[in-house]
Structures are given as structure tokens and as C-alpha cells.
């Protein structure tokens, strides 16, 4: 299924589940966002991160601890 098709199904269903209303322009914005973001999100989900050792509470002002 293309991202545009999934957006047509997913967005109204998700909004209904959250109880959030949207007008036609907002829906168009969300469809465009879905088409832009969903394919890379699916790529991200497919990324194998099982070997990534966690960095608990990372201090972003510093380099990560040496491993």
C-alpha cells in the first residue's frame, strides 16, 4: 500500500481514536506530513538496533563514555 493510501485510512482513524477534530486543510497538511515522514519511519523501524548498547541518561553536553 502506498503512503498516500495509508494516510487516507490512518489519519481519520487515528484522529477519531484520539477524539481530535480536523478541518479539510488540516487533513491535507497531515496527509502531506504522512507522505513525507512515513516511508523513512518505516525504514527506521526496520533498522536493526539490537546491538546498540544503551547510554543511560545520556549527558548531551559530553562525549559518550568510552566503551
Amino acid at each position: 500500500m502506498e503512503a498516500s493510501q495509508s494516510a487516507d485510512d490512518f489519519i481519520p482513524a487515528a484522529l477519531a481514536a484520539f477524539g481530535v477534530e480536523a478541518d479539510e486543510i488540516e487533513l491535507a497538511v497531515m496527509r502531506a506530513a504522512q507522505e513525507m515522514f512515513w516511508p523513512p519511519i518505516l525504514e527506521l523501524l526496520a533498522l536493526d538496533t539490537s546491538g546498540v548498547a544503551p547510554e543511560p541518561a545520556p549527558d548531551l553536553s559530553q562525549a559518550p563514555p568510552r566503551r
Partner: protein, 456 residues
């Protein structure tokens, strides 16, 4: 340039300290210049002359004693709550003393106005704001960059010599590039941030300076950091460049100017250029967007989303609601990508001192249609810009954008990124580059400012 307002920030401060200019005189000159030039660029959305005069009257001795500056509409002031460029924002705000305000006040600076910004900080263009768009002083029909659009346009038009912006996903560096300025994104957590509505929640946003050159960024940055950013020698700089599809996907003029600047920097410092690999970069870009967007959801309720101010742009309303649909598992993955990227960068910075690439892949796009033409095709400016801006925010490293060229009469910027805490090195490198190119680009003045100087 003979007008005091046209002097660099550090020379304004020195002239006041030497008694050559009165702080009050400089403030009135800044207010007059805002009145004269701002209608064309909409960079400053509010002035408060009496508050500014009070600040000038009681300004303590300090590194910015009596110097007028602009602050982005992202922090509260004691007399004004931030609006975040929007008719509505999810967070509650109130007037107050933010960290950047206190830092400026205690350094003796005079806040002369509030800078425009892209609505909700949500774009690299600056073409949507509750105040109307800011305009690029180099070409009034082009985007000034975002989200720190007003601070950048104000400095480029020489309304002030320094402004405070914020950078959550490139929001200092993009407008610095589009407006021909130097913009520093500090290492995460090192610059004043309290009082921001996302302080303590955001893991990407920092405050930082936008100025004409690195010397002024060093001065204003030192105030925001609360410590002196000492000048040093960039040394024999090991410059890392990436040769991948994204790095190659830049407008030819931008690629050529940045390559030339990297060569100049290498020659000037007696350093070397090394090719590095960052295979995590594409995933890191999306990860940054996911983390930054999810962090702003804390105050969201369906009821709140159903009662957004209708004056908020349709784009803003739609994107706020869309954030609800970002899957939690993707955000978890995004944090894992952050870990991977940080570990990889720690290794890279054992091999190189800085990573260099174009700050954005094309010059400022039209305000009415912010699209850019790249070798890969036509992209929205946001989609193109985030690829080079996000990594520093995801990982926490510092980054700087420096002007290095021009195309179609619009500035081109080179981004340098360094390891955590090496913010001073970025300033040293930027200054080395300025010396190498004879300050050609940092001293360039846009037509809006140059015309009046000629008339004067």
C-alpha cells in the same frame, strides 16, 4: 562604516567603555534605525523604548555595557511573555526573567527589541509567523531562514550588531546562512536556557548568538555561556568531509563555495582534509525530528488540540495534530539512533577536529514558495536543510555557520561541527577562515543597509 551602529558588537562595547559613545545615544540610534529599516524586513516585532532606556540607565559594567541587542520571541522578558511566533502554543507562558535575559542584563546589554521567528519554531524558512514573515535583507522576496528569522534579519540589516537566537533543529544556523551571518549553536546545555518553555524537557534546543562575524559571536556567546570563550589558535586543523549522496546533493554554486572555503581553511591552518564516513546520518536526521517533535507533546490533550486558536496557521494546526500519530516505537528507535550517532561521532572526532559541509544545500528560497532546486530534484527547503542541520542537535555537539560565498546575490554558508565542548575551536576556525579570505564575506553588507550608508 562610520555610524556607531555599523561597528561590530565588540567595537560598540569598546567605544562605550572608552567614553567615545554614550549608551543612551546608541540606544536611540538603534530605535531610529529600527523605525527606518524594519518595515521592509519585519525582523523586530516589538520595541519597548522605556524599558530599554531603563536598562541602559542602570546597565552594570560588563562586557556588553550599553550595547543594544535583539532577543528572539522564544524567551520571556520581565515585561513580556514569549509568543513563539504563534497565535497559540501548547505551553503556558508568562512574563519573567529568562536565562538569556539575565545573562544580557548582567553583562550590561540593552534589549532593544524582540525578534520575529517562524511559527512554533517549526521551519527553516521563517516565512510563516503570527507577526507576518520576516524578510531577507539581501532580497526582500526571499526567506530570511528560520526559525530565528528576526534575529538574523535584524543583524544583517544592521539594526543591531548582535542577537540571541535558539537552535533546536538548525534554527540559528539556517538563518545565519540565508542572511550572511555567523551563527553559533553551542554544545547542548552550555548556554543559558532557563525560562524557555521547553527548558528541562527539550534535549535539542540551545540559545546562541547571531552576529556578523566570529569575534562578535565569541563576545555574545561568552555572555550566554556565562564564561569567556577564549580565543586560541585553530592549529593544524584536521577537517573531516563526507562523500555521500546527501553531501553531493547541493546546488553547484553552494558546493563550489564550500569546497573552496574548506581548501582555504586547510591552507590557512596548515591542516589537512580527511574523508570520513557517517552512515548513521540519514537515520539521525529523522531521529532528530522525531525526538524534537515528541518532546513538545507533554502538554497536549485532545481537548487542547480541539481548541487551538484559529489564527494559528493551518500548517501549524495540522502539524501539531499530526504529532499525535508519531509511533512511540519510532521514538524509542530514534533514541537508539542517537546513541549510535554519538558513539560514531566520538570515534570520528579522534580522527578529525571538525566536520565541514554546507550549512544548507541552496541559497535562500522565495518567501512565497520555499522550494530549492538540487541535483536530485525539487525539494522543500525544510526537507533539504534538515539533512545538514539535525546531527548537532541530536548528538549535542557544537556547530557554527560561517559565510563563505554568494550566488544570485544571496549568501552561502559553511557549517563546521566539533566535538562536545570544543565550541572555542569552532570560533578559532571561523576566525582563521575570515583572515584567509580577507573578511570578504563577513564584512559584506546587504543592499538594504548599503543603500542608506551610500546616501549618508
Amino acid at each position: 562604516m562610520s555610524e556607531p551602529l555599523d561597528l561590530p558588537l565588540r567595537e560598540q562595547a569598546a567605544a562605550i567603555a572608552a567614553g567615545q559613545i554614550e549608551a543612551g545615544e546608541l540606544l536611540e540610534a538603534a530605535l531610529a534605525r529600527i523605525e527606518a529599516r524594519n518595515p521592509a524586513i519585519n525582523a523586530v516585532v516589538e520595541t519597548f523604548p522605556e524599558r530599554s532606556r531603563e536598562m541602559a540607565a542602570v546597565a552594570p559594567p560588563g562586557p556588553l555595557h550599553g550595547v543594544p541587542v535583539v532577543i528572539k520571541d522564544e524567551w520571556p522578558l520581565p515585561w513580556r511573555a514569549q509568543r513563539f511566533g504563534a497565535a497559540d502554543m501548547l505551553a503556558k507562558t508568562a512574563p519573567g526573567e529568562s536565562g538569556p535575559y539575565r545573562a544580557l542584563r548582567d553583562a550590561g546589554a540593552v534589549i532593544v527589541g524582540v525578534g520575529n521567528m517562524h511559527e512554533l519554531g517549526a521551519s527553516s524558512t521563517g516565512n510563516v509567523s503570527v507577526y507576518g514573515p520576516a524578510r531577507n535583507p539581501w532580497n526582500l522576496e526571499r526567506c530570511p531562514g528560520g526559525s530565528s528569522s528576526g534575529p538574523a534579519a535584524a543583524v544583517a540589516a544592521r539594526l543591531v550588531a548582535g542577537a540571541v537566537g535558539a537552535d533546536g533543529v538548525g534554527s540559528i544556523r539556517y538563518p545565519a546562512t540565508y542572511c550572511g551571518l555567523t551563527g553559533l549553536k553551542p554544545t547542548f546545555g552550555r548556554s543559558a536556557m532557563d525560562g524557555h518553555h521547553m527548558a528541562g524537557v527539550s534535549t535539542t534546543i540551545v540559545s546562541g548568538p547571531l552576529c556578523a562575524d566570529a569575534g562578535d559571536c565569541r563576545l555574545l556567546g561568552s555572555v550566554l555561556y556565562g564564561k569567556e570563550l577564549r580565543a586560541g589558535d585553530a592549529g593544524a586543523l584536521r577537517i573531516g568531509v563526507i562523500e555521500d549522496e546527501v553531501s553531493a546533493d547541493v546546488a553547484p554554486a553552494v558546493g563550489e563555495a564550500c569546497e573552496a572555503a574548506i581548501e582555504e581553511l586547510q591552507r590557512a591552518t596548515g591542516g589537512e582534509v580527511r574523508t570520513i564516513e557517517l552512515p548513521e546520518l540519514p537515520a539521525a536526521t529523522l531521529a532528530t525530528v522525531l525526538i524534537a517533535n515528541s518532546e513538545s507533546l507533554g502538554g497536549v490533550t485532545p481537548e487542547r488540540l480541539n481548541s487551538l486558536d484559529p489564527e494559528l496557521s493551518p500548517l501549524g494546526r495540522g502539524l501539531l495534530k499530526y504529532r499525535l500519530m508519531l509511533p512511540a516505537v519510532a521514538t524509542v528507535k530514534a533514541h537508539q539512533v542517537r546513541t549510535m550517532a554519538r558513539q560514531r561521532l566520538a570515534e570520528v572526532f579522534e580522527e578529525v577536529d571538525v566536520i565541514a559541509w554546507p550549512t544548507v544545500p541552496a541559497v535562500a528560497p522565495p518567501l512565497e514558495a520555499p522550494l530549492v532546486e538540487l541535483p536530485s530534484g525539487t525539494l522543500t527547503a525544510d526537507a533539504a536543510n534538515v539533512r545538514s542541520g539535525a546531527l548537532a542537535n541530536l548528538t549535542g555537539i557544537p556547530a557554527i555557520s560561517v559565510p563563505v560565498g554568494s550566488s544570485e546575490g544571496l549568501p552561502i554558508g559553511l557549517q563546521l561541527q566539533a566535538a562536545w565542548g570544543r565550541d572555542e575551536l569552532l570560533l578559532d576556525a571561523a576566525e582563521a577562515l575570515e583572515r584567509a579570505n580577507g573578511r570578504r564575506w563577513v564584512d559584506a553588507v546587504p543592499p538594504l543597509a548599503a543603500a542608506e550608508q551610500t546616501e549618508a
